[in-house]
């Protein structure tokens, strides 16, 4: 008979082997969660002296029941209604070319400055992030619009591609954020509070990105030459073009922040108004509608299967008591809360080099959250830190997924140059984490103020 902790460690090892062999993340978690539940339960019953046949039979029975029960629970979780709705909203915004309107507005106002095009890209990414919860969608849609412009004005490739890759990650932090929804559901936190907590860090990080661009062009002015100065009327007309999008954001996110809508209601209202705006602007046709539906369905599949798998995997991890033991070990180390947080951040940064963001989130939550609870950290604040670290992973070599996306849009730019361009933004994110550790109120002010903690 082996101990539960050993079963947990073996389960984690198996999981990593399966992931390395390219088994989809959700299937790997389902497989390990299901088989692990059988073995762990059988062991538990054997340890109290139950007959072997009976112990294994009970182990199977519990695992069967978990598999069906947790799957249906995840698929019928009312809070998760926000996923298809916000995904639909982002798909409509992307397919209807709203990203172009945002970029045009930001470009007309900032394009004449040194590095202004790159800054405009970041600002437009932040605006698009308020419509879309996906960093990939933000990077793809904004990259297609901004990269040709930056090429035209002879921007250095690292700065141009780096700003798109990094700007795209804002989609993961600025609400509505897919990562935050998953974090909220798996840690039983309020989606609304997390969304609110993401808004100030999202704005601060946008400003830090723009500051990073400023520092780059200060050192190398030729990397971001100024564009043409727009006339006053051009500036205001571009703002008028972006106004419907801003209205959708204000109605959706504003409605949620003021308590007029719940996050679930806000997601439906947001999808509806984005559709209406796109329709009025004449940006939708039958072909685009088909793509929007298929994209929404496909992204919904990605997120839901992973959540279903997490619902099966997390009880197995809890059963092994591995997270609890890890909490005991870490809290007994003479390094204090900050030391533990630093270890967690470093582990995440390391994993971020190899794992995709959402996958890393669901894989690590069963282990990391008990530590955060054990140390009495605010889980909303911790969630924002985790989301930013995951963003860093999205642009970290060798598997920064946003970098690959940018590479697919700019195939002539070598990978090394793109990765060279992301470092200023990577350090801006590190600075953001530092700020959040020093001043947790950056994240907690809005949720505390608007919903009374």
């Amino acid at each position: 008979m082996i101990s539960l902790a050993t079963i947990g460690i073996l389960g984690l090892l198996t999981l990593f082997v399966l992931l390395a062999l390219r088994m989809p993340v959700a299937l790997s978690m389902l497989f390990v969660g299901f088989t692990g539940t059988i073995i762990a339960n059988a062991n538990k019953f054997l340890s109290i002296g139950m007959d072997s046949d009976q112990a294994w039979s009970r182990g199977w029975k519990i695992a069967y029941s978990n598999l069906a029960g947790e799957t249906f629970e995840a698929a019928s979780n009312f809070n998760l209604l926000v996923i298809p709705m916000f995904v639909l909203m982002g798909s409509i915004a992307g397919a209807s070319g709203m990203s172009r309107d945002l970029f045009t507005a930001a470009y007309r106002w900032m394009g004449h400055l040194k590095g202004g095009l790159a800054s405009a890209t970041i600002a437009a990414c932040a605006g698009f992030a308020a419509l879309s919860g996906s960093s990939l969608a933000s990077a793809v849609t904004m990259g297609r619009v901004a990269l040709p412009q930056m090429k035209r004005y002879k921007y250095a490739d690292p700065l141009a591609t780096g700003s798109v890759a990094a700007g795209g990650t804002l989609g993961f932090l600025i609400p509505p954020s897919g990562g935050m929804i998953i974090y909220a559901v798996l840690t039983e936190q309020s989606i609304g509070k997390l969304f609110m907590a993401g808004i100030i860090p999202g704005i601060v990080l946008t400003l830090l990105f723009i500051a990073a661009i400023y520092l780059v062009v200060l050192r190398k002015p030729e990397s971001g030459p100024p564009g043409e100065r727009a006339t006053s009327s051009e500036k205001w007309s571009s703002l008028l073009g972006a106004l419907p999008i801003l209205l959708v954001v204000v109605v959706t996110i504003g409605g949620m922040y003021t308590g007029f809508f719940t996050p679930v209601e806000a997601s439906s209202v947001g999808a509806f108004f984005t559709f209406v705006v796109a329709l009025i602007m004449g940006r939708l046709d039958l072909q685009k509608m088909k793509v929007i539906i298929l994209e929404s369905m496909s992204t919904t599949a990605t997120v839901f299967l992973i959540i279903i798998a997490a619902f099966v995997f997390i009880p197995f991890m809890a059963l092994t008591e591995l997270p609890a033991q890890l909490v005991t070990i870490l809290t007994s180390l003479p390094i204090g809360d900050f030391g533990v947080l630093l270890i967690i951040i470093l582990v995440y940064l390391f994993l971020g080099m190899f794992l995709e963001g959402i996958a890393m989130l669901v894989l690590t939550i069963p282990v990391v959250i008990p530590i955060a609870i054990g140390l009495d950290w605010d889980l909303i604040w911790f969630g924002i830190i985790i989301v930013i670290i995951l963003e860093m992973g999205m642009i970290s070599p060798p598997v920064g997924i946003n970098v690959f996306v940018v590479k697919s849009i700019a195939p002539d730019v070598p990978m090394g140059q793109i990765f060279r361009g992301i470092w200023p933004f990577w350090f801006a994110m590190a600075a953001m984490i530092g700020l959040l550790i020093l001043f947790p109120q950056i994240a907690l002010f809005l949720p505390d103020k608007l919903v009374g903690g």
Binding site: M23, P24, A75, I293, L294, M297, S298, T302
Partner: protein, 173 residues
């Protein structure tokens, strides 16, 4: 077999567009109607609205999992693939797909089984008391479709060494 895959893709795509699109449209419009008109304007929310939205969500999840299995929506980590020999890459992929078929077959069978017991255990929505039974079946079928896709994947790997996924912007539209 490539013809079978093409027909299968067409069915999946059109089911997603027609049924998924209808479900998404219903969810959006019904929710907005209930929130803005019935609740906020008329102070008379629709009874059982949450039940209907919840069941609609199950339908969307069921339809999307099948489609996602063909569009490559289920995240894989491919970092070590370039370090593998062609032989190892091929057979390890087949191995993990067989494991996947195993666990998904059990999952599908268990969901079906749970559906059969749903009435007996009184599993219904809270307000309208709609039985979950057909929705369990729907999820079971959806997982069975994913299992079938994994079988098709194995066939493709054996035939050409790689899996051709369904492109959302592709000809099938």
């Amino acid at each position: 077999m490539p013809n079978l895959i093409r027909h299968f893709d067409k069915i999946l795509t059109w089911a997603a567009i027609v049924l998924g699109g209808s479900a998404l449209a219903f969810m959006t419009i019904f929710s907005v109607w209930n929130v803005l008109i019935m609740r906020k304007a008329m102070n008379n929310p629709i009874t059982g609205a949450e039940d209907l939205l919840l069941l609609c969500l199950v339908v969307i999840v069921a339809l999307s999992v099948g489609l996602g299995s063909r569009t490559g929506a289920h995240i894989e980590i491919e970092i070590l693939e370039s370090k593998m020999s062609v032989w190892f890459a091929k057979w390890s992929l087949i191995f993990v797909k067989i494991l996947g078929i195993g666990v998904l077959t059990i999952m599908s069978q268990q969901l079906w089984h749970a559906g059969q017991k749903a009435v007996k255990f009184g599993e219904t929505t809270q307000q309208l008391l709609i039985s979950y039974e057909p929705f369990y079946y729907l999820l079971a079928v959806s997982i069975a479709i994913y299992t079938f896709v994994l079988l098709l994947d194995i066939f493709q790997v054996l035939r050409s060494g790689k899996v051709e996924k369904l492109a959302i912007n592709g000809d099938v539209l």
